[in-house]
């Protein structure tokens, strides 16, 4: 019934859209679909900026500074995919990756070289105390520790999440598990130490000991550390999940309308990356040929999976924003007798894992620590795009990523691996079925249309009861459709285009597909595929949920 109520509205919107865009020139270009976003402007004049953690929380929790318009992602190509750019590189979403490649992630080496490490800066304040060191080869790393209460937890979470986000296509740091020996640490002359009072003082050996006191220590006196390799290029500071940077000429799509940032909500939910926010991102200015461009990184996954960086993840993580008025008021007014359901969730006690589970987890309900405007703007097709990438990650690949954490306790690897697989199934079930899952469309020279059903392929839905297809001739300059033939109904994933359409000499043809399944009403959202006659037919456009 609901579907029927929105059909007329959708039709009206589509008509209005067609009218409005009819004067807009061609819909498709001869180089469509592009797979590389042309970031051709020189951004060398950009200056570093900082984002206040407190302001980021305040702005996203209480101000309405982002554009919340319900609109399609702006940086997708004509077939609804994300072209490679300084933000994102298609990896497992575009081609199969061997498991060892996923496990290697962004790493180009083996981590800090053995031998003496020279401390060049340190801090005892902040969420994760640590050092900046230079290894014996002269490479710079940021070194962080696990909390004494949860050995291997934060470093394990960071390593696993790094590998997976990298495989999805995001830019991440090279993170390594390494062993720190106290006797091999020296302090570079002139190194300053930020003490508890936030004053910088000349660093001394006792400062190293102060930091190490907060770290989990092996019985042999060594420390397991997470070593993050310093990024190349000029540090520009974090990016925001809204707006654009006014000093970056290549930054033309408001970040809250970028597909990869919207879709990140799906990956973050799966991995419980509750601190998916500006201050855990980083931009660098790198040379690319004769110009400088920005490369955008995600970093600091210490608060992901079951880790809360310095302690086990809090139960609220993923379930509620830090500040949410409704549950707060209900809890206040009921004198605490209303108990938020997530408070009652029980977790196994595995210190290296912390708190993560799959039974209570609902992808639709997952939330970061505080609102993220790109996540807020994520539409069904954005989440579908991300879920489809996730569906290409095999169970063995997930286990391989978990194994990179090198947990001592086999229970940790087993539990985390199993939990992630169960969460993955839920994510795919939710988001591959939240819109029409028709994918991989092709039209051969004889007019045979083939496609696949991503939800059925992922095992999270049975085949559709039927599909309906409507064919049209498409005028690329006028952006108008001329219907050809009557609606077809099929029960398989192949169909024959009307003969009059194939023989009519049309340069562009389009087919609108709807899928029907009693359990998944959202499958009826239309998918419109456009084909161009180029030595046969080439898929040139795709609109999911237009």
């Amino acid at each position: 019934m609901m579907m029927r109520t929105w059909y007329p509205a959708a039709a009206a919107l589509a008509l209005a859209s067609a009218v409005l865009t009819s004067a807009a020139g061609q819909k498709f270009y001869r180089d469509d679909p592009i797979w590389r976003d042309p970031e051709t402007q020189n951004a060398s004049a950009m200056k570093p900026l900082e984002i206040s953690k407190q302001f980021d929380f305040f702005e996203n929790s209480f101000l309405d500074n982002a554009d919340k318009t319900d609109r399609r992602a702006m940086n997708v190509n004509s077939i609804d995919e994300v072209p490679d750019s300084g933000w994102f590189t298609n990896r497992i979403g575009r081609e199969p990756w061997a498991i060892d490649r996923i496990a290697r992630g962004p790493d180009t080496g083996a981590g800090p070289a053995d031998g003496p490490w020279v401390v060049t800066s340190a801090k005892s304040e902040g969420v994760s105390p640590g050092f900046t060191i230079q290894d014996s080869k002269g490479d710079t790393y940021f070194v962080k520790f696990d909390p004494p209460s949860n050995p291997e937890m934060a470093s394990g979470a960071e390593i696993i999440t790094t590998k997976l986000f990298y495989a999805f296509g995001y830019h991440t740091l090279e993170n390594y598990i390494a062993t720190l020996r106290r006797d091999l640490l020296t302090i570079a002359p002139g190194t300053l130490f930020v003490e508890d009072d936030r004053r910088k003082r000349t660093m001394r050996q006792r400062h190293i000991d102060e930091v190490l006191k907060q770290a989990a220590r092996h019985p042999d006196g060594t420390y397991r550390v997470l070593a993050s390799k310093a990024l190349p290029g000029l540090a520009l500071g974090p990016f925001r999940y809204r707006g654009t940077r006014p000093d970056d000429p290549n930054d033309i799509y408001p970040h809250e309308h970028r597909r990869e940032l919207r879709g990140m909500a799906v990956f973050s939910g799966w991995l419980n990356h509750d601190e998916a926010r500006s201050t855990n991102s980083f931009d660098t200015l790198v040379r690319e040929g004769d110009r400088a461009v920005v490369k955008h990184y995600l970093l600091d996954f210490g608060s992901a999976l079951g880790s809360g960086s310095t302690k086990s993840q809090v139960p609220r993580a993923g379930n509620e924003f830090v500040w949410e008025a409704r549950p707060t008021l209900i809890t206040m007014l009921t004198l605490g007798f209303y108990v938020r359901p997530w408070i009652k969730v029980e977790y196994p006690v595995i210190p290296a894992v912390g708190r993560i589970e799959s039974t209570y987890f609902r992808p639709e309900n997952w939330k970061p620590d505080y609102p993220n405007p790109a996540f807020h703007n994520a539409r069904p097709e954005d989440r579908f795009w991300a879920a489809r990438i996730l569906s290409r990650l095999s169970d063995d690949a997930v286990k391989a990523a978990v194994s990179t954490a090198k947990y001592t306790d086999p229970k940790a690897s087993q539990y985390l691996g199993q939990t992630l697989l169960e969460r993955k199934s839920k994510v795919l079930l939710s988001w591959l079925n939240a819109t029409n899952p028709v994918v991989d469309l092709s039209l051969d020279a004889a007019g045979t249309l083939s496609f696949r059903n991503a939800a059925a392929d992922a095992g999270v839905a049975k085949a559709a009861e039927r599909y309906t297809l409507t064919w049209s001739r498409f005028d690329n300059m006028a952006r108008t459709h001329t219907a050809v033939g009557s609606e077809q109904a099929i029960t398989t994933t192949t169909a024959q285009a009307p003969v009059e359409l194939m023989s009519g000499g049309a340069e562009f043809v389009a087919v609108t597909i709807r899928a029907f399944h009693n359990d998944h009403p959202a499958w009826q959202h239309p998918v419109i595929a456009y084909f161009k006659r180029v030595d046969g037919w080439k898929l040139i456009g795709l609109e999911r949920n237009p």
């Binding site: 042309p38 407190q54 000429p249 549950p327 707060t328």
Partner: protein, 407 residues
């Protein structure tokens, strides 16, 4: 804050605007053209006023700046500020010495109600790998309007008086902390109390309504030497905002009258706290028992200004500060706390208390009671403000606003 909308709208329009391009142009060229156009309008990012404010706070951390660990400092309240003294500020100088082996604190504080304090403290907190602390402290405290209603549970609100309490003091201490959860120590010191005319003109001076028989030590105050032993066991998860564990402290102190041999006595204070978490610490039942007893030998008495009191934000919240006073006092607090959100806990509480001239007179059956509701604004580690509304006592509804937790 709405200024961003203009450039954002322009940008959106730019990106979405109909492109008057020829059919020969490529997608890449169309996008490049938009970027080339933006390249002509580049400008540095300008944070708004609110963002600049947050940045300034973050960079400069004014709290650390005005109250650094080392150097001149200003602070809200002061060390040992008595309840009922009102809003106070303090300032001074503190610094590590001798390569952080020793530390010195010079501090002076003043409250809006005229309470004052100056003190100097020299101590060595990191002996035996931070297990032993030795220190010496001298202080002067001026409490101009301490309340006195008479002794015992039968005291009347109508008998409220006030007196001046002045006390220079010098003390040496040794504290041993072999493990993080246990601390024991001993102190020796000298204190020279003067009781004078109360400065609160709304209420009569204590000496005008009570005599030596009703308030021992009112007419003359000797100098005291004291020595004590104390021990604390602390297993609280976060001492500033506990949700699990317990705190158990015991103090025995002997006061020796140096001048008249009339006011020598012993005092024992016990403070027992237990925190019982429910639902992963989102709910906490907090229990506290405070017991204060004094014993004077034959021919001696306990000066009224050293006698335990009951009432106020930290004991029996249905009664005013110092409302009840006697040689022995008992208070029991039961709080059910629940987290409304991560920055606010609420609490339903019930307090019970009693004072008596003899320890055996502290009977649980005769406890005065109070009940109420409170708000605790907090971080994970500390309660920085609490508001309690209490009723059920003899003196009506009482409201407390404190910039600290209770227990």
């Amino acid at each position: 804050m709405q200024l961003w909308r203009l450039p954002a709208t322009v940008l959106l329009a730019l990106v979405c605007a109909p492109l008057s391009v020829s059919a020969q142009e490529t997608r890449a060229e169309a996008i490049e053209r938009q970027r080339a156009e933006k390249a002509t309008q580049l400008k540095p990012y300008e944070p708004g006023r609110l963002e600049r404010f947050f940045q300034k706070i973050g960079e400069e951390n004014p709290l650390t700046r005005v109250s650094p660990v080392n150097g001149f400092f200003l602070a809200y309240g002061y060390t040992g500020k008595p309840v009922g003294s009102g809003t106070a500020v303090s300032g001074g100088w503190r610094h590590d010495l001798i390569g952080r082996k020793a530390r010195v604190v010079l501090e002076a504080g003043q409250s809006l109600r005229g309470y004052r304090m100056v003190r100097g403290d020299f101590f060595m907190p990191r002996l035996l790998d931070q297990r032993l602390e030795l220190g010496v402290e001298t202080s002067y405290r001026y409490h101009p309007q301490e309340d006195f209603y008479g002794l015992g549970f039968g005291s009347l609100e109508a008998d409220r008086t006030n007196f001046l309490y002045e006390a220079p003091e010098i003390q040496g201490r040794a504290m041993f902390k072999p493990v993080p959860w246990f601390n024991a120590g001993a102190r020796v010191g000298s204190i020279d109390v003067t009781v004078g005319r109360g400065k609160d003109t709304q209420f009569p001076d204590t000496a005008s309504r009570f005599n030596e028989a009703a308030a021992a030590g009112l007419s003359s105050q000797p100098r005291f030497l004291y020595n004590d032993l104390f021990a604390t066991f602390d297993t609280r998860d976060q001492p500033g905002n506990p949700r699990a564990g317990g705190y158990y402290g015991v103090l025995w102190r002997r006061y020796n009258d140096r001048d008249t041999d009339v006011y020598s006595f012993d005092r024992i204070d016990a403070d027992l706290q237990q925190f019982l978490p429910i639902f992963d610490k989102k709910r906490v039942v907090a229990l506290r028992l405070q017991l204060n007893t004094t014993t004077a030998g034959d021919g001696n008495d306990v000066p009224f200004y050293f006698q335990p009191t009951l009432g106020g934000a930290d004991s029996l919240r249905g009664a005013a500060e110092f409302r009840y006073r006697d040689r022995n006092a008992l208070s029991l607090n039961v709080e059910y706390r629940w987290e409304a959100f991560s920055g606010l806990d609420m609490a339903l509480f019930s307090d019970f208390g009693s004072v008596a001239p003899r320890f055996s007179g502290l009977e649980f059956a005769d406890l005065e009671s109070a009940y109420g509701i409170g708000l605790r604004f907090n971080t994970y580690k500390a309660v920085f403000m609490r508001i309690d509304v209490a009723g059920g006592g003899r003196d009506g509804i009482r409201l407390y606003t404190k910039f600290s937790g209770n227990f």
